[in-house]
């Protein structure tokens, strides 16, 4: 595995530090890199929601996608994977894609996760079980994702300091142990690409300590997960902590954030230097019957006045034979109308979710594509500014 920063822009002025970049994550096959900034598709039981293999590979955007596998989901079929032996890509028929194994469920954050000094609690279908580092090491060698987070538990932003200290300490000691196990018990061929996890909730001293201790293992780590975000902090609070953390993390390594995913949040985090987002935002929109319609093309901010999103339950779409978004290249928009999707929602047909998922995921992939383009062409700051202004204007108009 390798990660290269292909374009980086560092600006430091009195008020903000910006550090955004484009990158290229190569896993095995050099011809199929994952280009960042990007987001991971949300999965359930290992499959991207509503996307069978043909539908996933038919998305109009890049051919390599990143997906987040949730440890608690995969934990439930670890025995199956162990017997299968060929790894999780083959098992899920996701060979061409990049799979991240993470602990944080970006859809269902529970603030009351328990953990002990030596283990975390995993809520599996059959009840809660304890997983310690030894067990986790064994499981990741069986799952063999492309990148595996080190053991960690996200906590609420406003967690008391005592618990936050314990979170940071445990995360560090688990990382030490995991690296040790990886070094001693696995051969080079089965060695996993590990991600260190930065914790510490709202406490900047803890965050800094977490970074300083974690980067001692930098040569053994493929990147960093920024934990316990999207757990109740304001944008301002997030930006402040992120700045402190990102300043100290090695520039050339991949940075991943979980639980942060609205378009506004994404632009701010990209500006600060985040590479990959783990979010269920497009799926959440689908669940609500929404289609993302916001304008994300730099050259269209002046000319196009789309809503930011539309709700397909609305009876005004009963005979609307236009696509969700004009000129959207996705299957849903090239083949189907708002009227049909409204009808499918209204009759509780599963195809409604399938078609909305295709569009919403495509729309988000298109958004990230434009983010990358503007970074490459040195227009990102202008892009962000105009994007946010446009969103705000349209949000206010719709209110």
């Amino acid at each position: 595995m390798s990660f290269q920063v292909t374009k980086a822009v560092d600006n430091k002025n009195t008020t903000t530090t910006t550090n955004y970049r484009c990158g290229r994550l190569n896993i095995g096959d050099e011809k199929k890199p994952l280009i960042t900034p990007t987001f991971m598709l949300y999965t359930k039981e290992g499959s991207p929601i509503n996307l069978t293999k043909d539908l996933l590979n038919g998305l109009p955007n890049e051919k390599v996608h990143s997906l987040q596998l949730l440890f608690s989901d995969l934990y439930q079929f670890k025995d199956v994977l162990e017997k299968y032996q060929k790894g999780v890509h083959e098992f899920l028929s996701l060979n061409e894609h990049i799979l991240f194994l993470l602990f944080r469920d970006s859809a269902n954050f529970s603030a009351d996760q328990e953990f002990k000094d030596d283990s975390i609690n995993v809520t599996a279908r059959k009840g809660k079980t304890k997983v310690d580092v030894q067990e986790y090491n064994k499981i990741i060698n069986v799952i063999r994702p492309d990148l595996a987070s080190s053991l960690s538990v996200d906590l609420d932003w406003n967690t008391g300091k005592k618990k936050a200290i314990k979170q940071v300490q445990c995360t560090l000691s688990w990382l030490n142990k995991l690296i040790e196990l990886q070094e001693t018990t696995t051969t080079t061929t089965t060695k996993q690409n590990l991600l260190g996890v930065i914790q510490g909730c709202k406490y900047s001293d803890l965050r800094i300590k977490s970074v300083e201790e974690t980067i001692k293992h930098d040569s053994k780590l493929s990147g960093y997960v920024l934990g316990s975000f999207g757990t109740g902090e304001s944008n301002q609070e997030r930006a402040e902590i992120l700045e402190k953390v990102l300043e100290k993390l090695p520039k050339e390594k991949l940075k991943i954030i979980s639980g942060v995913g609205s378009p506004e949040e994404i632009l701010c985090c990209v500006e600060q230097g985040i590479d990959v987002f783990s979010t269920n935002y497009p799926n959440l929109m689908t669940e609500w019957g929404n289609a993302l319609t916001f304008t994300f093309k730099l050259d269209q901010f002046k000319s196009v006045n789309n809503s930011n999103k539309i709700n397909l339950w609305d009876t005004k779409y009963v005979i609307d034979t236009t696509p969700l978004v004009k000129d959207c290249p996705c299957f849903t928009c090239t083949q189907h109308t708002k009227a049909y999707i409204h009808h499918l929602l209204n009759t509780h047909e599963m195809l409604a979710q399938v078609l909305l998922t295709i569009h919403n995921v495509s729309h988000y992939l298109g958004f990230f594509e434009e983010i990358r383009k503007t970074i490459e062409s040195n227009q990102f700051e202008q892009y962000k500014q105009q994007f946010l202004a446009k969103r705000l204007l349209i949000n206010n108009k719709e209110k």
Binding site: E45, I49, V80, Y84, T321
Partner: protein, 412 residues
């Protein structure tokens, strides 16, 4: 004497030949038989939107969608005709929307052929308060409880709005287990309603009506009904009133009787039949078209169709089974997913339903394809025997199927 034994007293209006004829001698449908084995036929059925190969299975897309599959996936699966249900589509989105968007083909963007039922059967089976009068099927609106009547005219009007390649005439549906005078009354009424359907049909140039043979399990009534329908010269004929709980022995005899009498050069559609054994036996008896919700419905409960029958993928016996549902199947699901993975999502996650439905439709399509190929290359009896061998390796093939096949000189 019970009420079932009271003979039906024929009324003046009970007429077999009314003189009404289907408006076109050259409807927008061509049926060309390419090969035969006994009564079984392999044919090319050309409809306004698609040229289909028969015998064929038609997946049911009740509300304008086949459970979770996209219209592209239906094409990828090589479906020819997809069914829509007039009762459901007439209710939501309703004929006004259908007219506004240009019909069901446009609405669901399915480029191939479609067929709609009359709405009558669903009404009688879904609504407890439905009552049949000479005017039509009277029912209480599920919206506001008001009394409404689905007349033959209204059924045609809605089906014209939907715009399917094939529309079904409204018939007087009686349960296939009903006996006695009600069956005869329904048969004669079906003949009267058919004439009302013919005169209400507004688009004979682009849409075909199939009529439905009724008459319960009474050979004489079926015979009279066919006399009346054949005289009217329809583009195609359906066999109705079966698959509703009657004995299989009676079922196949009615099918056999109908396929022996219906015109050779017209397609024959057996309604609501879709189990693999029924498809094979009834193809042998000369049926060309079938439909059934079974393959998609059973998929949602985790059941996958295979040459040996079906697999309940929720069963723990598949937890470590790393083979596809059917190693012979070439569908997207069998090429990419194992039973062990499907076991994890079957009956639980939406993706489980999507994947198993996809395979099950593929199974139905390939079964029909094999039947058709074997008719064309003159190996149909061998195919039937090997099919039965796979489904019933313990030689416990149901007697009715053995009897039915023997009738067409296929000895199991």
């Amino acid at each position: 004497m019970t009420s079932n034994e009271i003979p039906y007293i024929k009324k003046d209006i009970d007429v077999v030949i009314s003189g009404v004829k289907y408006p076109l001698d050259n409807p927008p449908l061509q049926f060309e038989i390419l090969g035969k084995w006994g009564k079984a036929r392999a044919a090319k059925l050309t409809l306004p939107h698609h040229c289909c190969n028969t015998p064929m299975f038609m997946p049911v897309g009740t509300q304008g969608t086949v459970k979770g599959l996209t219209s592209q996936q239906l094409v990828d699966l090589n479906c020819g005709v997809v069914l829509g249900n007039t009762y459901h589509l007439g209710h939501r989105p309703g004929p006004e929307v259908m007219d506004a968007v240009g019909g069901l083909h446009q609405f669901m963007n399915y480029p191939r052929a479609m067929l709609t039922d009359s709405g009558g059967f669903q009404m009688v089976s879904l609504l407890q308060l439905a009552e049949i009068t000479e005017e039509g099927v009277q029912f209480q609106s599920p919206h506001d409880g008001s009394t409404m009547v689905l007349t033959p005219e209204l059924s045609m009007q809605i089906q014209n709005s939907i715009g399917a390649d094939i529309m079904m005439a409204l018939d007087d549906v009686v349960s296939s287990t009903t006996v006695g005078p009600r069956v005869e009354e329904a048969m004669y009424r079906t003949l009267r309603w058919i004439d009302r359907c013919i005169s209400a049909h507004k688009k004979p140039e682009t849409q075909n009506i199939f009529c439905i043979v009724q008459g319960g399990l009474e050979p004489t009534l079926r015979d009279i009904c066919m006399d009346g329908l054949i005289a009217r010269n329809f583009p195609g004929y359906a066999i109705g009133g079966l698959s509703g709980g009657e004995s299989k022995d009676k079922f196949w005899r009615v099918v056999h009787q109908c396929t022996s009498k219906l015109p050779e050069n017209k397609p024959r559609y057996l309604m609501g039949v879709g189990y693999a054994l029924d498809l094979v036996v009834c193809s042998a008896l000369g049926v060309d078209m079938f439909d059934c919700v079974f393959p998609s419905r059973t998929a949602r409960f985790g059941s996958a169709l295979v040459p040996s029958g079906s697999l309940n993928l929720k069963s723990s016996e598949y937890a470590f089974d790393f083979t596809p549902i059917d190693p012979e199947c070439t569908c997207m699901v069998c090429k990419n997913y194992t039973k062990a993975y499907l076991h994890i999502v079957a009956g639980k996650e939406a993706i489980g339903g999507q994947l198993i439905t996809y395979h099950n439709i593929s199974y139905q399509m390939s079964l029909m394809n094999q039947i058709r190929e074997s008719i064309l290359n003159n190996s149909f009896p061998d195919y039937v025997k090997s099919f039965i061998q796979k489904q019933y390796p313990n030689k416990d093939c149901p007697q009715w199927a053995i009897d039915a096949l023997k009738e067409v000189n296929i000895i199991i």
